[in-house]
Symmetry: C2
């Protein structure tokens, strides 16, 4: 029971102390989350209130199932961009249809996460290698920042790749609204200054270090309050400043998501990508934070928590959510002890949805854009390019290709191409496993690589040791290697495959071994195995391979060579340097 | 030079003996190839003469570059079916457009094969695991046989999946032409009898065994001659028997393939699949036959040979070709010694194209269908299902899924789904590498798995040995395993990663090691490495990982434990059972 409902564990020891710590964290995260949720909904191309909805019920659902104590779930930048791309694919123009598609996407994402969690398939996230994630994130940040430039200039632009975005931006640059630009750039300047310059000032007042770090991160709410007030006070809407406008007041609407099969089919690919990218990001944040307090998180349980959060988002008018990076750190630093902090945050957002929405009418879109730009630019990190270049060229290729594909063709093609490429590189690498042709170390029963050690070999015996399990990516490599050796050296009468490092032989590799045996038989060469591990031998016994084997299976390589060449024992027990 | 032009090698020793052996083989293969090439063109949905064209110039091009001495290249059943599917995707109805698409497909396939050969990417064929190939071939055979039923019944049917084919067949079964059915079924019966019953009869006449085996395989030409004569003599065309009709007489036309970008884009996926499937089939036949004479083939050189053959097919009005299974065996058994036999075969086919085409007017399509059905049904082999079920369930899933997807959705979705699934299963398996928590064997400096041996451990030290290289599919597994261990056992102060089996650490795994180091630091646990291989260490030195490492790198696991726990040396040098 406790495995599926971690809430049963942490709620038991819930004390007044824990409550007050969770409440403090919840208040701080709420202040941070109100502007962020509005801004990310804007980024996703959705009505601003959907951000608030995605930041309320999902947090409560996550709290009920989560294994992480401090992960802060809700709308995040990258998933919002991916939502925009997914809905962009559908070429909808009716806002009601767009909202329906967004909730359907949340439901699909939620069901996939739940399914993966129940089937314990958290390890599927391994498909996303670190170079792919790093290249994708860097490119996504650039796309997100560029997509906000239109709001800051008060012009229109479109496109899901960098080239199209920049072309449409430059095409409309003449429509720039100067007051909007002023608001946007002032917002950016203030937020950057708040990060760098505000901290020393606050520290001088003697406030504790932790409080200062948290206060600095509430800068966005100040931008919201001040820019809204100015826009209202000076009637800037009449001067062309675009504002959030009327937001519906009230609790999130109960929504029955669409089950339109055509809609689901066209969103399927996007939902898979959002599921995987969202999960990978969440788990890595959750693990990092859990380790700091030596707590335990279960990736499969996180899948269930995130799945529940997305289903909750779907039935309350929201869109796909996941664990946020900076928000979770604020939650942690503010002292959140249990997932209840998330539930309290949800209450704060619900309060905002009911009472504060009228106040947000005059909030300029440029301010929200400024908040997004500063939030994501701090995530920009090109060092991975240099780092992988120095460390391993194959990884560098993955990073660079993913980055370029994402910038050039958008998030969906970018991440798909990156995954495909990194898997191809991986298969290519494992298709050339480490191997050694071995000979006997004189005076011993040991066999070592003939290229690295002074060893003795019998001309009629070819002994090859493969240092990896045999499966389809490397099955043909073994065939080719043995074929080549035998066809180039007519003296060979025996081939011995030395197997101490082989943990598994799949059906493809078995087929290759059969082909090797068959071809060697045609060439009058016997095929032997030595040092086969127990479980591998058990599997081979279920086939007729051992019956058809022209040679024998030997317990040790020494036994094998001695059976085929009587000199072997002499070499082992006579000192080569008398 | 000889590496790229194997012809330089075999042509030097070319004697009158070799010539006569090659000529005999060429005559036999030509007799076999004439009906097959017409039949496979029909299967591909192309005019019958394109089969002859694909069986002439490509054979000469292959002979110039091939490393296999006996592979017989030309139109084959599976690639013809895939060509039909590729062209079917385009929904063309104009025969001229269909021919243009077929030559474009041959050109694309040829260029891809050449490109892979020049880049020495033969190992990319590893993406096709044996279960995928076996499942795909079995399903393709069923689809091919079913697709010919319409010709045998003289009705129309369509579809690229089994369900659609069967539905349209049953829908039109009322139109059955009885004379056509008689011809078709008689052809099938004769061909099956020729395989089984003719052999003993011929053997009784005292003919050599080898000659009999070859004569039995020329049955199709008899079917062609007899059914054509009967159809002409009795005027069966007037009774509704569909015939091949007018074939253009003359040499293959020089063709400039289309470079229409839209056409290329829509054929791209199909061309990739044909390239890979065709290459894998060719190489496995070529390797099997080469081994019998202890000859050497180079997969990369085969790519170049097959690429040249397909480019030749494209410029001479043909369609995609590859190495044929049964035809190569006949070539081999007939005594072909060099690729020149293929070139002589091409001359035979050219002769047929110039002089014999008028005679083929009355050849019934039902006879060609009978030839195809009998040829492919001999390839039908369900034993792989039972074999993989017994051997490894994961491979069985690959076979069954590929087979069902091919039958249910056609060859292209079938093989793509199979490849994706087998790669996913492989990644899932490698994402859970073999590992062991190790302890010290008392009285020794050795460390062994604590679950299998009586060993002693220091409670504050957690030593884990991973028996595989670290790369992205298993990077997170290591993180999770160490996270779990440390969070569940508060006594742990040191984690030692024992690395003797780690040949490579990719950037994802390095990131995981950094994350482990970082998280252990947060939890006040030191992270050490032991027994790191030289090349791995060299790579790590290029990063700042070793500087940030909270613990140390030890040469041996014994050194590591002794440095952290002074009892270690006592355990090693005091007899535990005095």
């Amino acid at each position: 029971m406790k495995r599926f409902f971690p809430i049963l564990e942490w709620s038991r020891g819930y004390s007044r102390d824990t409550l007050s710590q969770d409440l403090v964290a919840a208040i701080i995260v709420t202040i941070m989350l109100i502007p962020q949720s509005l801004a990310y909904a804007l980024l996703a191309g959705l009505p601003a209130e959907m951000g608030l909805y995605a930041a309320s019920l999902p947090l409560i659902a996550y709290a009920a199932f989560a294994s992480s104590r401090v992960l802060a779930v809700g709308p995040v930048a990258v998933v919002s961009l991916m939502t925009a791309a997914a809905i962009g694919n559908l070429s909808l123009s009716n806002p009601a249809e767009i909202a329906v598609a967004a909730t359907a996407l949340a439901l699909m994402t939620g069901l996939m996460l739940l399914g993966m969690g129940l089937l314990r398939l958290g390890s599927l996230a391994n498909f996303l290698s670190h170079p792919v994630v790093a290249g994708f994130m860097t490119a996504a940040v650039i796309l997100i920042a560029t997509s906000q430039v239109k709001h800051i200039f008060g012009i229109s632009a479109s496109g899901k790749d960098l080239i199209t975005m920049l072309r449409t931006l430059f095409g409309n640059i003449g429509d720039t609204n100067l007051i909007t630009v002023t608001i946007g750039l002032a917002g950016i300047a203030f937020l950057i200054w708040a990060r760098k310059g505000l901290k020393p000032i606050l520290l001088k007042t003697g406030m504790p270090d932790k409080l200062v770090s948290i206060l600095v991160k509430t800068g966005p709410i100040l931008v919201v309050v001040i820019s809204t007030f100015i826009t209202w006070a000076f009637g800037l809407v009449d001067h062309g400043v675009k504002v959030v406008g009327t937001l519906p007041s009230g609790l999130p609407p109960f929504t029955i998501p669409s089950f339109d099969l055509d809609l689901w089919r066209s969103l399927l690919g996007s939902a898979i990508l959002i599921t995987v990218v969202g999960f990978v990001e969440s788990v890595s944040v959750a693990q990092t934070l859990a380790a700091r307090r030596r707590q335990h998180i279960s990736p499969d349980q996180e899948l269930i928590g995130l799945g529940a959060a997305n289903v909750a988002s779907a039935v309350s008018g929201g869109y796909p959510v996941t664990g946020g990076f900076s928000r979770s750190i604020v939650n942690f630093d503010s002292g959140a002890q249990t997932p209840a902090a998330g539930a309290f945050t949800a209450v704060g957002i619900l309060f905002a949805a009911v009472f504060l929405t009228p106040l947000l009418y005059f909030l300029p879109k440029a301010s929200l854009a400024a908040i997004i730009v500063v939030a994501v630019l701090s995530l920009l990190d090109f060092s991975v390019l240099r780092k992988t270049w120095v460390y391993a060229k194959s990884d560098f290729v993955s990073v660079a290709a993913t980055m370029l594909a994402t910038l050039g063709f958008g998030v969906e093609i970018g991440v798909s191409a990156g995954v495909a490429l990194s898997i191809a590189i991986h298969l290519y690498r494992t298709s050339h496993p480490h191997y050694a042709v071995v000979g006997q170390v004189p005076g011993t029963e040991h066999f070592r690589n003939i290229n690295r050690h002074e060893v003795q070999v019998s001309p009629s015996i070819y002994s090859i040791r493969i240092d990896e399990s045999l499966y389809f990516p490397n099955a043909r490599f073994l065939e080719d290697t043995i074929n080549d050796a035998v066809s180039l050296d007519p003296a060979i009468d025996h081939v011995i495959l030395v197997c101490p490092a082989i943990n598994f032989i799949d059906a493809s590799a078995l087929e290759s071994l059969e082909a090797i045996n068959h071809r060697l038989k045609d060439a009058d060469v016997k095929f032997h195995l030595s040092e086969v591990k127990g479980p591998v031998m058990d599997r081979l016994k279920r086939t007729d391979f051992l019956e058809k084997l022209t040679g024998e299976v030997f317990l040790t390589q020494f036994d094998a060579v001695c059976a085929l060449d009587p000199d072997c024992a002499n070499r082992a027990y006579h000192d080569p340097h008398p």
